[in-house]
Subunit: 189 residues, 2 copies
DNA sequence: ACCTGAACACCGTTCAAGT
DNA sequence: ACCTGAACACCGTTCAAGT
């Protein structure tokens, strides 16, 4: 015989209930007390699994980031980059603004799976040294800002600005290397 | 003789007290009740001037946007654009994230003084038709996203990505006009 | 030692009672 | 009609009392 539902409470079940509550009733109704009600346990039970509300929200952020499918590497670096950023947009856009503000850095900052894939793409394309990281940071900032502003400025075309940024970044590939870099191969020969 | 301080309550004084509270103790402590305490009035007095908390926050947003000094138009369009975006960054960066998320759209969306200045700059530079608006939207998205991500990714250089975006936008100026536009002057002659 | 819920110190907002 | 604060329906979190 199974134990009562309250004793089967896990972080996983709490996180799922939290997302359910978010989708049905929005960010404002997501409270520790309401979550307890939702799971049919006494109000303080959630504190057995999460130290405080902030730790619960951290778990929601991680869950969103982990759940995201990172597109595979096919096509030119521009096509690949576009796909990676489209995936980021699809992940960020449906979230309530309060959660999105915490997911965006986790998704786009160095260290995420998405950033890892982006660095591979950009490095393979020929962005050397700091350039790959800087290029990805710029693309991430553009995408995060676009998602943040889009609801108040819906006419804006994501693709237009992205293409201009990609144009500008592409210029870095064909430009001659900076003076210091020119002499480095001779030193390591 | 002056009336008691409580009867001299104005929207202006309430907004000033709210900013004082924000600066000293942060976003979390900004409550309608605490604001009443701060102003030494009965707790519900603020509701005489603002229908609810949301309307008060709207007033804070407007105040920030109105207070901003929009830089004058000197230098090349790239220099001017850089100055406008630097002013936006200086306005957004010191704000608590919750307020920044509401100020950013108000500051960067069409209709603001900043956007007006930007449209003049870009139009004078030769961005025709929808291009000026699209260029500004892209620059605004990049800037808003940069400010949002900078605290978790402090190594990122604002100027690098901005220069690449400006490079890409500059390409729109020298490129030939699109086919449809080529024939328009003939039709209106 | 662990489980539990009462209690603390707050919220935003409504509304009935007093003047 | 206006002023006032008690009250409602919540919060996140602590902690004392019970098992």
């Amino acid at each position: 015989m199974e134990a009562a539902s309250s004793s089967r409470l896990t972080r996983q079940r709490i996180v799922e209930a939290a997302f359910g509550l978010l989708e049905r009733e929005g960010w404002e109704t997501l409270s520790m007390r309401r979550l307890g009600q939702e799971l049919d346990v006494w109000p303080m039970a959630v504190y057995r699994h999460f130290r405080d509300k902030d730790e619960l929200v951290d778990a929601l952020v991680s869950h969103v980031v982990q759940d995201m499918t990172v597109p595979g590497a096919r096509g030119s670096w521009r096509v690949q980059t576009r796909k990676l950023l489209a995936a980021a947009r699809r992940t960020l856009e449906p979230l309530p603004a309060e959660l999105r503000a915490r997911v965006a850095p986790a998704l786009l900052a160095p260290g995420s799976r998405l950033s890892g894939a982006a660095m591979e793409t950009l490095t393979s394309a020929g962005f050397r040294g700091q350039r790959a990281g800087r290029a990805w940071a710029a693309l991430g900032a553009y995408t995060a800002g676009y998602v943040e502003l889009a609801s108040t400025n819906p006419k804006v075309q994501f693709e237009y600005g992205l293409d201009r940024l990609l144009d500008g970044l592409e210029g870095e590939l064909t430009e001659p290397a900076q003076p210091r870099e020119l002499y480095e191969p001779a030193q390591t020969r």
